[in-house]
């Protein structure tokens, strides 16, 4: 085993010692597998309507009951996971691809670049994240792409700030000064010395922001401006379920439960990872401690 692989496994083992993190990973893996194998293991199509079976309570055939069009809620929850996980993955990728370079350049060079880039981040932070997303959707119109970009942009500031903080603390370390003293160019120093030592806090941020991204995507869908129907989405299901609280009280319970457990799992995992990496001094700041 190479040193890098050994380190990854070491970290993973330390994370899994914590019971909460272990349970979180087990839940997330189950969710991922179920949604990947949905076509083969689920008896119902999430889009198949059956007007003879509208708003049924949970039972032997439909475990989570049926919705207002007679569709199987369990199937829709499982396919909703696909929407949530894909949006989260896409949004976090956008946020990292923009935010990490901003933080890297701002922290490494300082001066006017730092001032300019961080002012840009301030502008992004001048509105609460969900409102920023709402504005973007108001302009772009309601679509899967708009939701993805909107959620992604709200994550840029945290990546920029976390990376910048890590870079600033690394610049004081001897091995970085040594590369500089030995005549390493600034691009060599930035990409080959500083960046590789910044992956730990970025990784923690990826996990934590995934939970935030899932929450914002669901919030947008709940407000009726997320990914348009009939694509199953947890937020959209809660939005519709709210109209049938008297006729089908359990409708809104299941999508919300799975959504909540997913968010909590990712959050727990991120925080445990932060603590483990902090103990190993791979993180300067503790991003996991601030919500």
């Amino acid at each position: 085993m190479s040193a890098a692989t050994q380190r990854v496994f070491g970290t993973l083992r330390r994370v899994l010692v914590h019971r909460g993190a272990l349970l979180s990973i087990l839940f997330l893996l189950t969710l991922l597998l179920t949604t990947l194998l949905a076509r083969w293991i689920l008896p119902f199509d999430p889009l198949a309507q059956d007007y003879t079976k509208m708003l049924q309570a949970p039972g032997k055939v439909h475990w989570f009951g049926t919705d207002e069009l007679g569709r199987d809620i369990l199937a829709r929850v499982v396919f909703g996971a696909r929407t949530s996980l894909l949006t989260a993955a896409g949004a976090v990728t956008i946020a990292a691809l923009v935010g990490v370079p901003i933080g890297l350049v701002a922290g490494f060079f300082g001066g006017w670049r730092d001032a300019l880039l961080m002012r840009f981040v301030d502008v992004l932070l001048s509105l609460p994240g969900i409102l920023f997303a709402l504005v973007l959707i108001a302009v772009l119109g309601r679509s899967q792409m708009a939701a993805l970009v909107a959620v992604g942009i709200t994550g840029i500031p945290s990546f920029a700030r976390i990376t910048r903080a890590q870079v600033l603390s690394l610049l004081k370390r001897d091995f970085v000064t040594a590369v500089e003293a030995l005549g390493g160019s600034s691009s060599y120093n930035m990409f080959r010395t500083v960046l590789p030592n910044s992956w730990s806090p970025i990784l923690v941020q990826v996990v934590i922001l995934s939970s935030v991204a899932i929450l914002i995507e669901a919030s947008l869908a709940f407000l009726g401006v997320g990914i348009p129907p009939p694509t199953p989405s947890w937020g959209e299901m809660l939005r519709t379920g709210k109209s049938f609280l008297h006729d089908a009280p359990t409708y809104a319970v299941f999508p919300g439960l799975v959504l909540t457990v997913t968010i909590l799992s990712l959050d727990t995992l991120g925080r445990t990872l932060a603590r483990v990496l902090e103990d190993r001094h791979e993180i300067a700041d503790s991003p996991g401690k601030t919500p």
Partner: protein, 315 residues
């Protein structure tokens, strides 16, 4: 002190300017012409004429921006497309409702969050601390709209104690009705806020409890109640004030979602309705208003922090 406030204001100016430019430029990014975005598809020729003149939509772009900014600073945010009423009036009408919800939620957050923080900080690592930390993780992780739905299911559908949809009733006019209507929304939003309060205050208290003056106070025989109440609490509350700024973002964002759950007639619901009907002047007005309030509140928190902590150098 005054120079500190002025400097902070000056730092805010570019942020406000860029953000407001973004809000202004919104209508140019909307497919179709900006005039259509501002007056709607079914506008009369006179209405098109009026907006074109007011914002100079036939003149160069920088003049258009200037006209919009001048009007906005004077409080003229244009007319809503939906009902042709001034956007300013529509916003002003909704402020009391959102303010009442925000204050009630903050109160719930403090009532739930502060005891949780104090109890868990006094016995760090104990089972009580772990249980209560679990509470804050749960409070922060449960989406407000799902919590709201669960509360409606319990208190409105099952027990029939409270209404499932909340209207705004001023607490001064009819306290009982106001309480009935605000209780569930305030609880929904307040639980989230309590999670933030608990997490930060606990960290802040733990930091202070390690300080030398605490050991001194204990060793001179001061009762634990006084050590905590008189010494630790005061110092721990200092960094806590900055959380108010962070919480404002939560409160405003959370209010939008919470108001949607309970169909509560606040600013957030106005914004969502505006987005639903593509009422761009109203969207611009709401966002601009929230932006200014949010930025000013953050400034106030910073100034307050510098004011109450003499150690901060604000010269």
């Amino acid at each position: 002190m005054i120079s500190y406030v002025l400097r902070r204001l000056l730092q805010l100016l570019p942020v406000l300017l860029i953000a407001s430019t973004g809000i202004w430029a919104m209508i140019y990014a909307v497919p179709g012409s900006p005039v259509a975005a501002l007056v709607g598809e079914n506008a009369t020729q006179e209405q098109v004429q009026a907006v074109t003149e007011r914002l100079g939509l036939d003149r160069p772009v920088h003049e258009q921006y200037w006209a919009w900014l001048r009007n906005a600073v004077q409080g003229d945010l244009g007319l809503s497309i939906q009902n042709r009423e001034p956007v300013r009036d529509l916003i002003v009408q909704r402020i009391p409702a959102t303010l009442q919800l925000g204050l009630a939620a903050t109160l719930v957050g403090l009532l739930l969050g502060v005891p949780v923080a104090v109890i868990s900080a006094l016995k760090p690592g104990s089972w009580l601390d772990r249980t209560l930390s679990g509470w804050s993780a749960l409070a922060l992780g449960v989406p407000t709209f799902w919590l709201g739905i669960l509360l409606i299911l319990l208190f409105a559908v099952q027990l029939r104690w409270l209404p499932s949809a909340s209207t705004y009733v001023s607490i001064w006019e009819s306290p009982w009705q106001a309480l009935r209507n605000i209780l569930l929304p305030a609880l929904t939003l307040g639980v989230y806020v309590s999670g933030i309060f608990a997490r930060f205050l606990r960290a802040s208290l733990l930091g202070e409890l390690k300080a030398d003056y605490v050991r001194t106070a204990r060793s001179k025989g001061l009762p634990e109640r006084d050590v905590i109440g008189r010494h630790v609490m005061r110092n721990a509350l200092l960094p806590f004030v900055t959380i108010v700024g962070l919480m404002m973002a939560t409160l405003i964002g959370g209010a939008v979602v919470t108001e949607a759950v309970f169909t509560y007639p606040g600013l957030g619901r106005l914004l969502i309705q505006a987005i639903g009907t593509r009422d761009y002047p109203l969207i611009q007005g709401c966002i601009l208003f929230i932006l200014v309030v949010f930025v000013l509140l953050n400034l106030m928190v910073d100034v307050l922090y510098a004011y109450i902590d003499p150690r901060i150098d604000y010269g």
